[in-house]
């Protein structure tokens, strides 16, 4: 139920950028699709005209098209096994569905907090460390990552569906396997299998693992599907999995046998209550609430039934007996659980998939089909007839246009389109993964876009951290990044200072003509010693263009007033109240832009550079103008 925590983080700035990105990339894909369609249609038209022309003469069969003959491309491959077709099309549809879920407006900002971090929250530290890579990537590049995921998943789904045979199809399976594992590891925290409370009823080991397994199966050579062995292995694997899950469900002390535990809800009750609280229509919430009450009052019965069904179906799968009955029982169980426990899996604004029950059921169907219908599972390919340049009836040499199978060409065009779609998603994602700097839009989402200004910056005369007199006028000729920092501030100011330090480093040679200036904003603690301690703490001592200015209280207060910077003493053990603002002042002393520098949740910890990038963006804009 990845992501059913409510669609938080729905900033309009990010949402608009997300929609623009989807529109831009969608337009590109549309153009590609049009080009491919025009090419395919042109080929068909050409072929038709040539055929009519040829048949109007007596070409001795040269007018026959490739698709009309038994030796055409698809015909040479024989019939696709039923189980493989079900796996390919079924999981292709799941990928497309998941890709469309990624279009939800809450995804860019909500996925890390609603999906990725909760998935890893109760897992061991090493799992959290791995997931943190995904969290960091997504949080730093929310628009790129969200849009990329849409195209990658829809593209994989399309490719699975439109590429039925051969290497293209195997490539689709491989893509499904690889992307599925990426999502399972970095997005699902290994399906939380290392966390306490693991239960099949609630989604373990993660839906996307089944996508990956199905992808791996599709990637296998087709001959593997033509024996019942694959189905048998798959059934045994799934059967063992169900038996282990049944054992876990029945394991004493895990809270599944109790409706309540010392006044607290039992494990299943707590889980379903959480699901019922997810933002969703009342009707779906009522279904889960009903089951939650049932589990609370009849915990033993509910757990007994669940455990027994898993054990019976698992046993049947392992034994390879009564498979159709077991599959029917599993279908009832999975659909019931999907509706009443997993709560459909994708509600809440940041749901990323329909949860595990339906994919597991589909995989079980594939396994049963593969194990039982091998005789009807497709016909082996006929002996390949070598394509020769002169394979037309009567040994007549055929033209190139006659050899092209246009239905296959249409599929090929669709496959190329799907691959382009995957590339449109994966290329920016790869670039984002290599870029450790957060996109400026992240800080803009939190604080708003910088305010454009154009007026003279109020002058001041103070001293720097070395006791040397400094005035705003003395910085003429340089771009000034001016801010107000409390040297004994416990949260925002150290973060802002680090952001400015990174901004300075990122500017590279452009920083030569930039001064980073902070004015001490604390009426009590503002001595030169104190600002130097802050500089030492933040490793700013040796930054040549860093100036932490201070002065007498009256001097400082006049600067605070001129810039509306605050500096108010709060009672009760609080730090000083002051503004978190950065002024970008051009070389002639004009304020050109005002950037809200409140780090808040946008830059703390995960995003150490979004604000830096925004400042650099503003500085470069001022320098160029």
């Amino acid at each position: 139920m990845t992501g059913m925590g409510g669609g938080g983080g729905n900033s309009s700035i990010v949402l608009q950028a997300f929609q623009n990105a989807l529109l831009r990339q969608g337009s590109l894909l549309l153009i590609v699709a049009l080009v491919l369609f025009v090419a395919w249609n042109g080929l068909r038209s050409f072929q038709y005209r040539q055929m009519v022309r040829a048949r109007s003469g007596s070409d001795g069969g040269a007018g026959q098209l490739a698709v009309d003959r038994p030796g055409s491309h698809l015909a040479t491959l024989g019939t696709e096994p039923v189980a493989r077709r079900v796996a390919r099309i079924g999981f292709g549809a799941f990928w497309i569905f998941d890709g469309l879920l990624q279009v939800q407006s809450g995804m860019p900002l909500g996925l890390p907090t609603n999906v990725l971090q909760p998935a890893a929250a109760t897992s061991p530290g090493w799992v959290q460390g791995i997931v943190n890579f995904g969290v960091t990537l997504w949080t730093r590049h929310p628009v790129t990552a969200a849009a990329a995921t849409v195209w990658i998943q829809v593209g994989i789904g399309l490719l699975l569906i439109v590429a039925p045979r051969g290497r293209w199809s195997e490539l689709a399976g491989l893509a499904s396997l690889l992307w599925g594992m990426v999502v399972w590891i970095f997005g699902n925290a290994f399906g939380a299998i290392f966390a306490p409370g693991l239960t099949f009823l609630f989604g373990a080991p993660g839906a996307v693992l089944f996508y990956a397994i199905a992808g791996g199966l599709v990637a296998l050579p087709e001959r593997v599907w033509r024996t019942e062995r694959l189905g048998r292995y798959l059934l045994v694997g799934m059967g063992v999995f169900l038996l282990v899950m049944a054992g876990l469900q029945a394991f004493p002390g895990r809270g599944f046998w109790q409706g309540s535990l010392g006044g607290e809800p039992g494990t299943l009750v707590a889980m379903t209550r959480t699901m019922a609280a997810t933002p969703q229509p009342h009707a779906t919430s009522a279904l889960v609430s009903w089951f939650s009450r049932l589990a609370e009052h009849h915990a033993v019965l509910v757990n007994l039934v669940a455990t027994a069904i898993m054990a019976v179906v698992g046993g049947a799968f392992v034994a390879g007996r009564r498979l159709r009955t077991a599959l029917g029982l599993l279908a009832v169980f999975c659909v019931f659980d999907w509706v009443f426990v997993e709560n459909f899996g994708f509600l809440g604004g940041t749901g990323t998939d329909p949860n595990s029950m339906l994919p597991f059921l589909l995989l079980a169907l594939v396994a049963v089909l593969a194990a039982t219908s091998w005789s009807g599972g497709g016909e082996p390919a006929p002996k390949a007839t070598p394509a020769t340049p002169a394979d037309g009836p009567g040994g007549v040499r055929r033209s190139w246009w006659q050899k092209v199978d246009t239905s296959w060409a249409g599929r090929l065009a669709a496959m190329v389109g799907a691959i382009v779609m995957i590339l449109v998603g994966s290329a920016p994602m790869a670039v984002a993964a290599l870029n450790p700097q957060a996109d400026p839009i992240v800080i803009e989402a939190a604080n708003g876009v910088p305010e454009v200004a154009n007026g003279p910056a109020p002058g001041f005369s103070l001293v720097d951290q070395h006791g040397r007199p400094v005035s705003l006028a003395s910085f003429r000729g340089s771009t000034v990044v001016l801010t107000f920092l409390d040297p004994v501030c416990v949260n925002d100011c150290p973060t802002i200072a680090q952001e400015l330090l990174v901004a300075n480093e990122q500017l590279g040679p452009d920083a030569a003509n930039v001064k980073f200036v902070a004015v001490a904003t604390n009426p009590v603690y503002h001595s030169i010693t104190t600002v130097n301690q802050f500089n030492r703490q933040e490793n700013l001592e040796n930054v040549g263009n860093w100036y932490f200015l201070t002065g007498t209280l009256s001097e400082l207060q006049s600067v605070w007033n001129a810039y509306n910077a605050g500096g108010t003493v709060l009672p009760g053990g609080s730090m000083i109240l002051h503004s978190d603002v950065v002024y970008i002042i051009d070389s002639s002393g004009q304020i050109r832009s005002i950037v809200n520098s409140n780090p808040g949740a946008a830059t703390n910890g995960v995003l150490p550079s979004s604000f830096s990038n925004l400042v650099d963006q503003q500085v470069r804009a001022v320098q160029k103008s």
């Binding site: 282990v244 001595s527 130097n532 009672p571 009760g572 053990g573 730090m575």
Partner: protein, 428 residues
């Protein structure tokens, strides 16, 4: 059949392994203030004379560090009302400690919190009405009630640092002295130039028999000489170190300190395996008073020690010790207070807690015995011993209720409450 058993065994094994891997880690053991070795000293504390008292305690939403704000409360006599005297200009979420200098000066030091990694100091000459001397300390101050000391207003200040510190050779200078671990630093005048005075390593060398493990308290004596308390790992010994008589403050840089308690052994600890930690040091009417935390063969106890000033090793017989106050297993030391008075109850007061149960114990004048008060009000987090009476401080969010116990009575009498204007969310 063998196959069935093997599969069953594998399944059971898999379930057990997965289940074991999924079990949450068991909660950690003893809390800091309940540790056997007194490695963590409670910051909730008080210091009082008959005419003035101050207390440091946490208020606000105590379950949330970002909304826990430590406050200084102050009052004049034991019958007057408490007032808020928290030093302004800095967030106190990390805790604070207060001390009394001579001439009624009140010192406060705020511990670092979150992104801030050094402490700040403030001084008041009117018992917290106004804080007129403010400066920053070149590192994080030790989390201990007696981590800072001074004499009269404007004179030198000494602080006990713990962690990474650095001092500049001038206010704007880049070259500096830096270090790690516990260090006593001193400064005078505007407190812009701090100097490292001594460290745990320095003092270990003058007291090899102490097996000094840590420094825990600092106090400026009446003549300006500093005394530093510590934790000795050698049974019976306790660490109290003093500057040479000829030098005081920054002038004593490089001077060799003396182990004031050389040859002084806590009675009953001679042959035991254990440690002694100086938890509090304060002036008394006749000299010094020390609250020691001891561990004897794994059992903790508190001892109050009285000593003359200067507490030289030339008169070991003049040290007097209270009986051991056993701290039963499961009980934690929550708060400590020192009270200077000539009345029947004076010396030290301690607050012990075990779950919701609380105990308050007070030493008699001269630390000759321990007296138990009636159980203090529920929620008490700090106690004050002033003018022979004990006050219990009970915070609840922004409100502080106060109760007073007078010896010979069996009840705590409610006194006026105080409301602190706490700015919740300001440190988030």
């Amino acid at each position: 059949m063998v196959t069935v058993f093997a599969v069953a065994a594998l399944l059971v094994g898999a379930v057990a392994v997965i289940e074991h891997a999924g079990l949450p880690a068991s909660p950690s053991g003893a809390s800091g203030d309940g540790s056997v070795t007194w490695t963590s000293l409670p910051l909730s504390s008080s210091i009082a004379s008959d005419s003035e008292a101050s207390a440091s305690l946490a208020m606000g939403h105590l379950e949330d560090p970002a909304n826990t704000f430590w406050q200084v409360m102050a009052r004049a006599s034991a019958s007057s009302a408490w007032k808020v005297a928290t030093p302004p200009g800095i967030a106190t979420n990390g805790g604070l400690a207060t001390s009394k200098g001579t001439s009624g000066v009140l010192n406060s030091v705020v511990l670092p919190y979150s992104g801030l990694r050094f402490s700040s100091f403030a001084q008041s000459t009117d018992n917290g009405e106004r804080w007129t001397r403010a400066a920053t300390v070149p590192g994080p101050v030790l989390s201990a009630p007696d981590a800072v000391t001074s004499l009269e207003a404007g004179s030198e200040v000494a602080a006990l640092l713990s962690g990474t510190w650095s001092v500049a050779d001038s206010p704007s200078g880049l070259t500096r002295q830096s270090g790690q671990g516990q260090t006593v630093v001193v400064a005078s005048g505007p407190l812009t130039h701090w100097s490292a005075l001594t460290t745990t390593e320095d003092l270990s060398s003058v007291a090899p028999e102490c097996h000094l493990q840590a420094l825990t308290a600092v106090l400026a004596g009446p003549d300006g000489r500093l005394v530093v308390g510590g934790r000795c790992g050698n049974p019976g010994h306790f660490g109290l170190f003093g500057q040479p008589a000829a030098a005081a403050g920054p002038d004593a840089l490089g001077a060799r300190w003396t182990w004031l308690t050389a040859g002084v052994v806590v009675p009953g600890m001679e042959s035991a395996v254990g440690i002694s930690t100086v938890i509090r040091i304060d002036h008394t009417v006749t000299g010094l008073g020390l609250l020691l935390g001891t561990t004897r063969e794994g059992r903790r106890a508190l001892v109050y020690v009285s000593a003359p000033w200067p507490p030289g090793d030339d008169a070991p017989g003049s040290w007097s010790f209270s009986p051991f106050l056993p701290v039963p297993p499961g009980w934690s030391l929550v708060a400590t207070g020192t009270g200077t008075s000539t009345l029947a109850l004076a010396g030290a007061v301690v607050l012990l807690r075990h779950g919701a149960a609380l105990k308050v114990l007070v030493t008699g004048a001269g630390g000759v015995n321990w007296t138990s008060t009636p159980p203090p009000p529920s929620g008490t987090t700090d106690v004050v011993l002033q003018a022979g009476t004990v006050t219990a401080l009970v915070p609840a969010g922004s409100d502080l209720s106060t109760y007073r116990w007078i010896p010979g009575t069996t009840i705590w009498t409610k006194r006026p409450s105080v409301t602190v204007s706490i700015q919740y969310g300001s440190s988030n």
